[in-house]
Symmetry: C2
Subunit: 243 residues, 2 copies
DNA sequence: GAGTGGTCTAGACCACGAG
DNA sequence: TCGTGGTCTAGACCACTCA
């Protein structure tokens, strides 16, 4: 027997899918909807929580529940590509950059294979679509390779990427670790997503030919708007040898 | 101000982390815990829902809440490896295999680049650890490359993998698409996970040198027990050319 | 201040599991 | 049958947003 919560969630989902509730539109208040469906407010709120976790509805305290405008689904491209393609398809997005100087500690220090306390340049990238936050990337580069002063905040994202490629030795190996987790409270509020909407977390480690780590990147891609694709080509001499 | 739900969740999490609540142990009943923390049962249940979404607690209707024995965290290895390594590190897991014959339809047909209705061999792989389900893979191979009869159910997983490599042309290109989503109801019950615990979904498409798709695989890896790693090496001639 | 969502309560009734 | 979790109610009080 389907629960009332799911019944209501299904109905609202259908109303969104068929356009009877349009993107950006405010839903009736929770009290109103509860009366309409003849359920108590907690039950109605549970139904909304389902849609919220699916990324269909965004709630704002004091304002109401809104149908989310579908954000562009981006594809993070990894695998064997040229380094400048090694990024997201950010075509429809504008990226704001904020550069600061921090010190390596904990996980970050070991990722960069540097001692704790080493100076780093942190490049905080926040991708936006129509003023709405989309995804988040934190890039860390050893200070001696890219002094924070060189990457002034006023530079646009593309210029920063170009500048980094000029400043650093070419990458020889990239290791990307992908995991699924709930967003941290900061991520949830920065990205304006429900704390129940899982993110695709990419930890990327880039090394040069000498094995030195020249960049570590932590990406948080909300699961409702990001995929990752990796393509691998096998050489002839890599054929499996069944002995 | 932290909510009571989070305070309680934090406390229980701490009790689990410090071993005061041991893996496999049953928690006191919800009514008991509610009295202990002096909150109502819904509030306590919300706290448990947090731990459940983190994969720390498993609830069973009619029995109670149990501290989950930590399952091995496996790493799905993608990227440029030899094909037989192109798999999960399944060392601590036993895999049961179930082979059936199905017909390609919808997304599956387009993944395999075959017309709808084409006969396929479906290999359902369920990884277990100590009788407890861990992760799920569905592998689809065109029937002419691997007739279901050849892959009898009685074969162990390793034998099936070996058999497939013998039967098919060597893979030349692998495309892996990774996304985050909530489990389907079937996946949630098969894997015995909360429907709120997101899974890492890997859609893998393997083609031979002629471009024919020789395998499609759908993997569902619960987010609390799986990562994916991709390593890319750049050739010299792939250096970025900044003109 | 009016209206909204956020949190919580105290309890009801149902469904499942095990003896 | 008993104890467990699953679902739901009707309403309280607080915090936030906006006019």
């Amino acid at each position: 027997m389907p629960s009332r919560r799911d019944t209501i969630a299904d109905d609202l989902r259908d109303r969104i899918a068929t356009g009877r509730l349009k993107p950006g539109e405010r839903l009736p208040s929770e009290a109103h909807l509860a009366a309409q469906y003849m359920v108590s407010t907690p039950t109605l709120r549970n139904a909304l929580a389902v849609l919220q976790a699916e990324g269909l509805v965004e709630k704002t305290h004091g304002k109401g529940n809104f149908v989310r405008r579908p954000l562009h689904r981006i594809t993070y491209v990894g695998g064997r590509r040229t380094p400048d393609e090694h990024s997201m398809d950010l075509a429809p997005l504008s990226v704001t950059v904020h550069t600061t100087r921090v010190r390596a500690r904990g996980h970050l220090a070991s990722l960069l294979k540097m001692p704790t306390g080493s100076p780093l340049t942190e490049i905080l990238c926040l991708a936006h679509e129509d003023e709405r936050p989309h995804s988040l990337a934190r890039i860390y580069v050893p200070c001696d390779l890219a002094p924070a002063a060189v990457l002034r905040d006023s530079l646009p994202y593309e210029a920063v990427v170009t500048r980094l490629m000029e400043l650093r030795p070419p990458p020889a190996e990239v290791r990307e670790e992908i995991s699924v987790r709930l967003p941290t409270p900061e991520e949830a509020s920065t990205l304006r997503i429900s704390s129940a909407l899982a993110v695709l977390a990419v930890t990327r480690q880039t090394a040069d030919t000498t094995g030195r780590v020249i960049e570590a990147a932590l990406l948080a891609l909300p699961g409702d708007r990001a995929d990752a694709v990796f393509t691998t080509h096998y050489m002839i001499d890599e054929r499996p040898t069944n002995t």
